[in-house]
């Protein structure tokens, strides 16, 4: 994105406005549907004057039911996309994502374990973060040989670590009470944003926001970190320390998103690559673009999930049907080597 200033302004403006417009549109979509204007009115009046003077049904549907869900979709989508972009940069690996590195599986295991024991969202968040972090460090450790870690080794060790933690998840499911806990765990794992409330959001959102802020602030450094380790060091970067900060931020985002909406896959791969195709590889632009496009992507998917059919479709099914073909396309096009 080194083009003319005019286009740059247009692109930046577009990326800021797009999630807002799509959000406004999606909040009106559903069994009880409202036009753009009506949704806008409800939101503005609700924010300024409270619920007085508004149609109580409109207020209840928009503000109480759909708003937290729309906010969660925007936030998680932005977060998962940015953490994907960050993982790809720091591991110099275009196929690194929360899913392929085992972070998602690790975080799920942590969350499921907490779900079984406490059912308190803060605990679920903390456990998801701790185990997710352990998983990514394990993957990194396995893939490193003689101070190098190739794309292939990292993907393979990610597969191993993922399946290990998925087995642990199955173990927990096997031991869970089939009357009560098992259905909750199973449905949660498939990914759903339906159960979110403002209270949940208040617990989970700060983790995502802090993670996003850290990565956004350091986004130019991601370019330097995406070079080989010797190169990055020779530019005066404390590679290990910076990597650890970014890994922690990205894992925090993933763990928090997973604890609130279950295992929603593929966004961390899909969105950063689309951003690169649109704006080039410079992370100075890839990070904000991923934020915006990721938010829109998950919101659209979730809106489809809740309104396409009478019953809700789990989000992960929809992201996978879009994501898997895209992944195949990337592999075929690049051989996993250059993007």
């Amino acid at each position: 994105m080194t083009g003319k200033p005019f286009f740059r302004v247009l692109a930046i403006g577009g990326l800021v406005v797009l999630p807002l417009i799509v959000g406004l549109f999606c909040i009106g979509v559903g069994r009880y549907s409202l036009t753009l204007g009506e949704s806008f009115q409800v939101l503005i009046k609700g924010a300024l004057f409270g619920r007085d003077g508004l149609d109580p049904q409109n207020y209840s549907v928009i503000v109480n039911i759909r708003l937290p869900r729309v906010l969660l979709a925007l936030l998680s989508g932005a977060g998962l996309a940015v953490s994907g972009a960050a993982f790809q940069a720091i591991f110099t690996n275009p196929l690194a994502t929360p899913d392929t590195l085992g972070v998602a599986a690790g975080a799920s295991f942590g969350a499921v374990l907490a779900l079984l024991a406490w059912e308190n969202l803060l605990w679920i968040q903390a456990m998801a973060l701790a185990v997710g972090l352990a998983a990514v460090l394990l993957t990194y450790w396995i893939s490193r040989r003689k101070g190098q870690s190739s794309v292939l080794m990292m993907i393979l060790s990610g597969v191993v670590v993922s399946s290990m933690f998925q087995a642990f998840v199955s173990l927990v499911k096997y031991m869970a009470d089939p009357e009560d806990k098992l259905p909750a765990i199973t449905y949660w794992l498939m990914g759903s944003l339906s159960s979110v409330t403002f209270r949940n959001l208040m617990v989970g959102a700060p983790f995502i926001l802090v993670g996003l802020a850290v990565i956004y602030a350091m986004r130019w450094k991601l370019n330097v970190l995406s070079l080989t380790e010797d190169e990055a060091r020779s530019m005066g970067v404390s590679v290990k320390a910076l990597r650890l900060v970014i890994v922690t931020a990205a894992t925090m985002i993933t763990a928090s998103a997973i604890s609130m909406c279950g295992q929603v896959g593929w966004i961390g791969l899909l969105v950063p690559h689309i951003s690169r195709m649109l704006f080039g590889s410079n992370n100075r632009y890839v990070v904000p673009a991923s934020m915006s496009l990721g938010a829109v992507f998950l919101l659209v998917i979730d809106t489809a999930a809740r309104s396409a059919t009478a019953a809700e479709i789990p989000v992960s099914i929809l992201t996978a049907t879009v994501g898997a073909p895209f992944f195949i396309f990337l592999l075929k096009k690049t051989g996993g080597n250059q993007l």
């Binding site: 275009p94 794309v151 130019w220 020779s234 530019m235 005066g236 080039g280 590889s281 410079n282 100075r284």
Partner: protein, 262 residues
């Protein structure tokens, strides 16, 4: 400015020493060529002397100060490293790539400033690749990529340039361009260069000093013309060579011709 290695030894395990008591010193405007057979530890020497691998014994000094005691951002504002030009995963444009060389001057949560962009543009202009600015690195030829990496190192405004086999994968024309740039940076800007090479003739062409590794951990250091001789080449490379000078259009050229394996 002086850069010196004192008594530097390196080994992975003590029964196989890679480098034994390496010692050399270079100053402003010097060009030092590091020669040696495959696997003799040329790249290891570069990595050790810059502190990317720890010396087991001995030390590197910059202006008399032990390298290990210099804060990394300060160190890498003086020293810049040009790795071998290999393919990369993310296709930054040349300008974005060169800009990364400014990293040691940019704070951790900051974006590159106007001054950084200017330094990047100057670096590209110095070695004549301004026309590549918007070209993605993945679409470049080996020669172009090598020049971009040199520009990236220059963008840090270093006093010492360390180059790992800068010309070995290039064709004749690009070899000459790279060698010429290294020589020009030394003579015009006083930038000291230390580079690995497989070509003794290149060492004689541009470098006043040479360091010859023999593959058994030993090294010889001195003026290129004195170090690169028949006996030393024979003992390091196990190859008989003919070394001569020829005048072409009244310019003298050094010639190193391999004759046979010993």
């Amino acid at each position: 400015m002086t850069f010196e290695v004192e008594n530097g030894s390196f080994y992975y395990s003590s029964d196989r020493v890679v480098l034994r008591k390496v010692a050399f010193s270079v100053g402003e405007g010097d060009v030092l060529a590091v020669l040696g057979p495959n696997g003799a530890g040329k790249t290891t020497l570069l990595r050790c002397m810059m502190g990317m691998l720890p010396w087991r014994e001995g030390r590197s000094r910059l202006d008399g100060v032990d390298l290990r005691t210099i804060p990394i951002r300060e160190l890498w504002q003086s020293v810049a490293y040009v790795p071998q030009a290999k393919g990369m995963f993310f296709s930054y444009t040349a300008e974005e790539m060169v800009l990364m060389g400014r990293n040691a001057h940019i704070r951790i949560v900051s974006q590159p400033s106007k001054k950084d962009y200017e330094a990047a543009r100057n670096a590209m202009e110095t070695i004549g690749i301004s026309h590549l600015a918007a070209k993605p690195c993945c679409c470049m030829s080996g020669g172009e990529l090598q020049m971009v990496l040199i520009a990236r190192a220059l963008a840090a405004e270093p006093r010492i340039l360390v180059l790992d086999e800068p010309e070995s994968n290039l064709d004749y024309k690009n070899q000459l361009i790279v060698l010429d740039v290294v020589r020009r940076l030394a003579s015009e800007k006083g930038i000291c260069s230390i580079f690995n090479t497989h070509y003794p003739a290149h060492a004689l062409r541009i470098s006043g000093k040479a360091l010859l590794l023999d593959g058994r951990g030993n090294c010889r250091f001195g003026a290129s013309a004195a170090i690169i001789n028949r006996e030393n080449m024979r003992s390091s490379f196990s190859v008989d060579v003919h070394i001569g000078k020829i005048d072409i259009e009244s310019n003298p050229y050094d010639l190193v011709m391999p004759l046979r394996v010993v």
